[in-house]
Symmetry: none
Subunit: 231 residues, 2 copies
């Protein structure tokens, strides 16, 4: 059963959509203000976010831009704004779909399902173990081994390594690391993540001058290299 967070300030429409989606078997939570969406995403952890654009507190575009850095699930913008410019803007800000009101319930449902189908297929298995060459990570014991040897990591070092390894081959943004592991918004100045990466690199015998295991992607974030763990 999928969880949907519906952000809509028109109470009548909101309850209509909510009950329709609930009839289709979704668990739907309502939010009527823009400035509370981020908190709701964290506590409710929806599989899909349906976002109106004209909202009290904070407009939908701003909401989208704010949470996109760390919020992984698809965002469907549902709005009365018909202009192409708004549509392009919405999609470029990270929305996955943009639907113009009024919309046939069946169409909305089909689009919701299409988004969930796509993300579900992409979602990774929540394995408790990961292995890359000689590096073995065990998330239930929270231990890292290199060959036979135990690599002693602190709690947060392990969290960081696990998160990077989970996304092996793709760059992970600082914002996402901050939000997920530290649980705080990234203000653009905080160097905590850098320091942890630096510690991690030292313990893993990587060097920052020419890193080959955990790379820095300038202006983007950090990248775990999958095939660099064989000696």
């Amino acid at each position: 059963m999928h969880k949907i967070l519906l952000v809509e300030d028109d109470a009548r429409l909101a309850s209509l959509v909510q009950s329709f989606l609930q009839q289709q078997g979704f668990e739907v939570r309502l939010e009527s203000r823009g400035d509370t969406v981020a908190a709701a995403c964290q506590s409710f952890a929806p599989d899909l976010l349906i976002l109106d654009l004209m909202l009290p507190g904070m407009d939908g575009f701003t909401v989208c831009r704010t949470i996109r850095a760390w919020f992984q699930a698809p965002i469907l913008m549902l709005t009365a704004k018909q202009s192409d410019i708004d549509q392009v803007l919405g999609l470029e800000l990270g929305a996955d779909d943009y639907v113009i009101k009024p919309v046939e319930p069946r169409v909305l449902l089909a689009r919701v399902n299409a988004l969930l189908r796509r993300t579900q297929a992409a979602s990774k298995s929540d394995n408790q173990e990961l292995q890359f060459g000689k590096l073995k990570l065990n998330n239930s014991a929270r231990e890292a081994h290199y060959g036979a040897e135990l690599v002693e990591l602190t709690s947060y070092e392990f969290d960081l390594l696990w998160m990077l390894a989970k996304h092996a081959g793709q760059t992970v943004k600082r914002e996402a690391i901050h939000k997920q592991i530290i649980g705080r918004e990234y203000d653009g100045l905080d160097r905590t993540v850098d320091v942890r990466v630096s510690h991690l690199r030292r313990k893993l015998n990587d060097n920052a001058d020419t890193p080959f295991r955990i790379k820095t992607v300038w202006g983007k974030g950090y990248l775990f290299v999958a095939d660099a763990w064989n000696d």
Copy 2:
């Protein structure tokens, strides 16, 4: 960068969309019949399929149903059929988006990008390796090797080289490079891309001590020469 298979039987419209997408840095292949799409998907292995519904040979719905079982990349249906029923049917058959013609090019582009953004994480299609003679590019490690030697590139330089190499043998416009790598519109005066190409040429020549592999196509852009990397 990304490969798009465009299936459209109206030749004039097809070539319009094709050239527009090519200008945006996509590699676009055209298909005008429905019954040849499956074969084209296998040989061309596109990252995205844009599918018209009314096609000679086999209609778009049937194509979609046929290939969906094994074809992983997103499918965008682009059609003149406006009815909600068709839209719901298309999405339920496995399409990821359904866009009604006529459509603003910018809107189409935004939706294409949204789909690619969402699937990029899951698919390994862009985490490939490219090799031209002694030059080997690894996009998941973001490394370039010339023979056994590592060519040290900055993040920007790697992105640029990767983009040029992906389009080996065809000229890439400054506009496309600007848009794709800097993420902003090209104003026609900015020399930034030139400067970066110059840096890249130096780094590739220093290590190789051989003539240019990245050619300038006067008035058009830059061209990566595929068969010039053997010494």
